[in-house]
């Protein structure tokens, strides 16, 4: 293949645009509050989030209602994953043997650095200059684009959303809708800024026009690619296959046109059979986008065989651990059932308020808040499990029935034990708990507090000492003046 010729400003030059530090995996989750403030003050983002709220409204619910056996399927899907997690070594070894039998290779990687180096080594072995990618969250997790760029290889995202954010020098803000934070107008501006070979006066207000433009640009990329990288929704132990679902078909082109296909997958992605994968698909698409099925479902087994008309000459699977095996057998194991549908984000009030980037993690939202501490350490991400109202909507929409609020509390317990929470909060809770454990003193304290918070003529308090976080945007409804306990005793009831 020839070196890329079409103008593709931006991607080959990491210095072109600001790259969020989360592109290298982790480290900015400890700026969560600051990130959240920025997100709340970002008018364009807030418009995009409001649109997202209304567009996702009811979609998941309608898809569930359209399938009366949804609950049974969800139970079945959960049971499959539970079984796999209890026997993970067995299925992974079986998977590896089958991949080898089909002529492919499996690479076990303990952490992100190992996985990055392995990908680079494979690319170098082919003298690769351009790599096309289908969407892969593990690719984000190991920051593979950054690594390839730094080593002179051009990675090109082919999922439309990923393509848009790559041009913008951003990272995904959602696991299935990576560019959900960008408005239609923002996309048009991005295309005008980067597709500089096209007529500057072309109309770009229609989505179809933008789609056609991106398709034209990506076509040349598909043909120029030396290596194709995809993620995997599932790895099939019985056949040694990897399976991806897309709505754009970009995954198929990524994995069939180049000489080498690299699959990036977490070790928890394996399932016993194709039939098992099919069962989980039925809840995946409905929970992700409200579709009955994704448009494309593609199964890859090994490299091209002698009689195949197309397909890659080499097939590599990078199996990434990166903290996952450490979660097995612990109270956090349930999180490994996640099939990356994004339903928890789509229904999370906190995600709705601040978007995905504020989490400073590859995986945002409720599932990100439980995964990130496991994968990247609690010390760097202690805000994430705390920044939840524990409303429980995430768990109620999770097709894999992951008990997200319970796991958020478990992280909070670890955080509390390790004194990671701010001292003021810890002592505040301790003081309240002490009071609560001494009922007589508690009653006196509450009687006093009730008088202090007693209703002024307006019935509300506009500025509360020590309660600025509340009264900055809200009034504090005042107290009636005497506690229930006091009044109840005075009634001298039998």
């Amino acid at each position: 293949m020839n070196a890329p010729t079409a103008p593709f400003v931006g991607i080959s030059d990491p210095a072109q645009g600001p790259r969020s530090p989360s592109a290298v995996g982790h480290g900015v989750s400890d700026q969560f509050k600051h990130n959240a403030d920025l997100a709340l003050g970002d008018a364009k983002l807030q418009v995009a989030l409001a649109e997202m709220r209304s567009s996702f409204k009811g979609r998941n619910e309608a898809a569930r209602k359209g399938l009366p056996e949804f609950q049974a399927l969800s139970d079945h899907a959960k049971a499959i994953k539970q079984h796999v997690l209890a026997n993970l070594d067995y299925y992974l070894e079986r998977f590896e043997a089958k991949v080898k039998a089909a002529g492919g290779q499996v690479h076990w990687c303990n952490d992100a650095a190992e996985a990055r180096d392995k990908v680079l080594a494979i690319c170098r072995s082919a003298g690769a200059r351009t790599v096309t990618k289908g969407k892969t969250m593990v690719g984000e997790e190991i920051a593979i684009n950054h690594h390839l760029e730094a080593n002179g290889i051009l990675p090109v995202e082919t999922d439309l959303g990923e393509y848009i954010i790559q041009l913008r020098g951003e990272t995904p803000s959602h696991i299935i809708a990576p560019a959900i934070h960008v408005s239609k107008e923002g996309v048009a501006d991005t295309f005008r800024a980067h597709h500089t070979d096209l007529d500057p006066a072309r109309p770009l207000s229609e989505i179809t026009a933008m789609l056609a433009e991106a398709r034209g640009k990506l076509r040349a990329r598909f043909l120029a690619a030396d290596v194709g990288i995809t993620g995997a929704n599932f790895l099939i132990a019985e056949t040694g296959s990897s399976v991806i679902v897309t709505n754009e078909g970009n995954g198929d082109l990524t994995q069939t046109l180049p000489k080498i296909h690299i699959v990036l997958a977490g070790i928890e992605k394996v399932v016993p059979t194709l039939e098992d994968a099919t069962a989980i698909f039925r809840v995946l698409a409905r929970s992700a986008t409200g579709q009955e099925m994704s448009v494309y479902t593609t199964v890859s087994t090994g490299p091209r065989r002698a009689h195949d008309l197309d397909g890659p000459g080499e097939y590599h699977v990078i199996l990434l651990d990166n903290g996952r095996s450490g979660v097995l057998g612990t109270e956090f194991e349930d999180m490994l059932r996640c099939i990356r549908c994004g339903a928890c984000m789509d229904h999370c009030p906190v995600y709705h308020a601040i978007g995905g980037h504020a989490y400073g993690s590859v995986y945002p939202g409720p599932i990100g808040a439980v995964l990130t501490p496991a994968l990247f350490g609690l010390a760097h991400s202690k805000d994430l499990p705390n920044a939840s109202t524990l409303c429980g909507r995430c768990e109620s929409v999770c097709p894999m029935q992951i008990p997200l609020p319970k796991m958020l509390r478990q992280w909070r317990e670890r955080s509390f034990e390790r004194h990671l929470a701010p001292a003021r909060e810890r002592w505040g809770i301790k003081a309240w708990a002490w009071l609560a454990r001494h009922p007589q003193i508690y009653r006196g304290a509450m009687a006093l507090a009730a008088r202090l918070l007693r209703r002024p003529a307006t019935g509300r308090i506009r500025h509360l000492p020590l309660g600025g976080a509340w009264t900055a945007g809200r009034d504090f409804p005042a107290a009636s003046g005497r506690t229930f306990q006091e009044q109840w005793r005075r009634r001298a009831r039998p």
């Binding site: 308020a353 809770i429 506009r462 976080a469 509340w470 809200r474 003046g481």
Partner: protein, 257 residues
């Protein structure tokens, strides 16, 4: 109706401190439903602030106190889905590894109910003798909705309040952003969430907002008054007990002590 069961009212720390009216409304409703009501003196708080902050040891200590204080009664009734959910769903989990306390926690959990669902599901109450001329909307507080499956019960009883029209709230099951300590630890995010909520509330055209949890109500009431809306907020028990003469949450006049 069954012979009168002895009900212990877990009044909740917020109701005790901020709005005792709700506690008295609960007592009235329970008595109307043929219950004898006691208020155990040793009660303080259900332990939720400690539990949700990761302070498991203190949450257990408080839970033991609640269990001991409430286990002599036929039922424990709570005018809050959140605190009822804490006892009902989380106490057994807190003592899962404690052979001595686990059965006691489970026994108390099994007889603990949120007020409105207790009236409908345990006492068979189908209507209330209450009157209020208002157009109301109802917010489904998260814990009651998801931990205790309370959805239809308050709507059923509210329909029997003469003069009251109920308008459904768009996204009634979306969180209001209160979340216990969340609202102060992440004030700006909480404020953003409640602003979306009040926009939906205002869009119903209702002049009264009802819910079953005082924390959520204080959050929404605080935002509504700050935004200058003329929408009143009350706990659903106040309306069902026909005790709406006093000022709504976050409004009104000084009362003599």
């Amino acid at each position: 109706m069954q012979d009168s069961p002895h009900v212990a009212l877990l009044v909740t720390c917020l109701v005790d401190l901020m709005r005792p009216e709700i506690g008295f409304a609960a007592v009235k409703l329970l008595e109307q439903a043929g219950c004898r009501v006691s208020v155990p003196e040793a009660q303080t708080c259900c332990g939720q602030p400690a539990y949700n902050s990761g302070d498991r040891a203190d949450a257990q200590a408080i839970a033991r106190q609640v269990i001991a204080a409430f286990e002599p009664f036929d039922y424990v009734v709570v005018p809050s889905g959140s605190c009822a959910g804490m006892v009902h769903a989380h106490y057994p989990a807190l003592f899962a590894d404690d052979p001595a306390w686990r059965p006691r926690a489970e026994a108390v959990a099994a007889k603990t109910h949120e007020l409105v669902s207790f009236l409908t599901d345990q006492r068979g109450v189908t209507s209330v003798p209450a009157h209020l001329d208002a157009v109301a909307t109802y917010h489904d507080s998260c814990s009651g909705l998801r931990e205790l499956k309370i959805r239809e019960q308050p709507r059923q009883l509210l329909k029997t309040v003469t003069g009251l029209t109920l308008k459904e709230l768009e996204g009634s099951e979306a969180c209001c952003g209160f979340g216990g300590t969340f609202c102060v630890k992440y004030g700006p995010i909480s404020d953003r969430i409640v602003a979306d909520k009040t926009a939906d509330i205002a869009a119903t055209g209702a002049d009264l907002l009802l819910a079953g949890d005082l924390g959520c109500l204080m959050n929404m009431a605080g935002k509504l008054t700050r935004q200058g809306h003329k929408i009143d907020c009350r706990h659903v028990a106040e309306v069902l007990a026909d005790m709406t003469d006093g000022p709504p949450i976050g409004r009104g006049q000084v009362e003599p002590l």
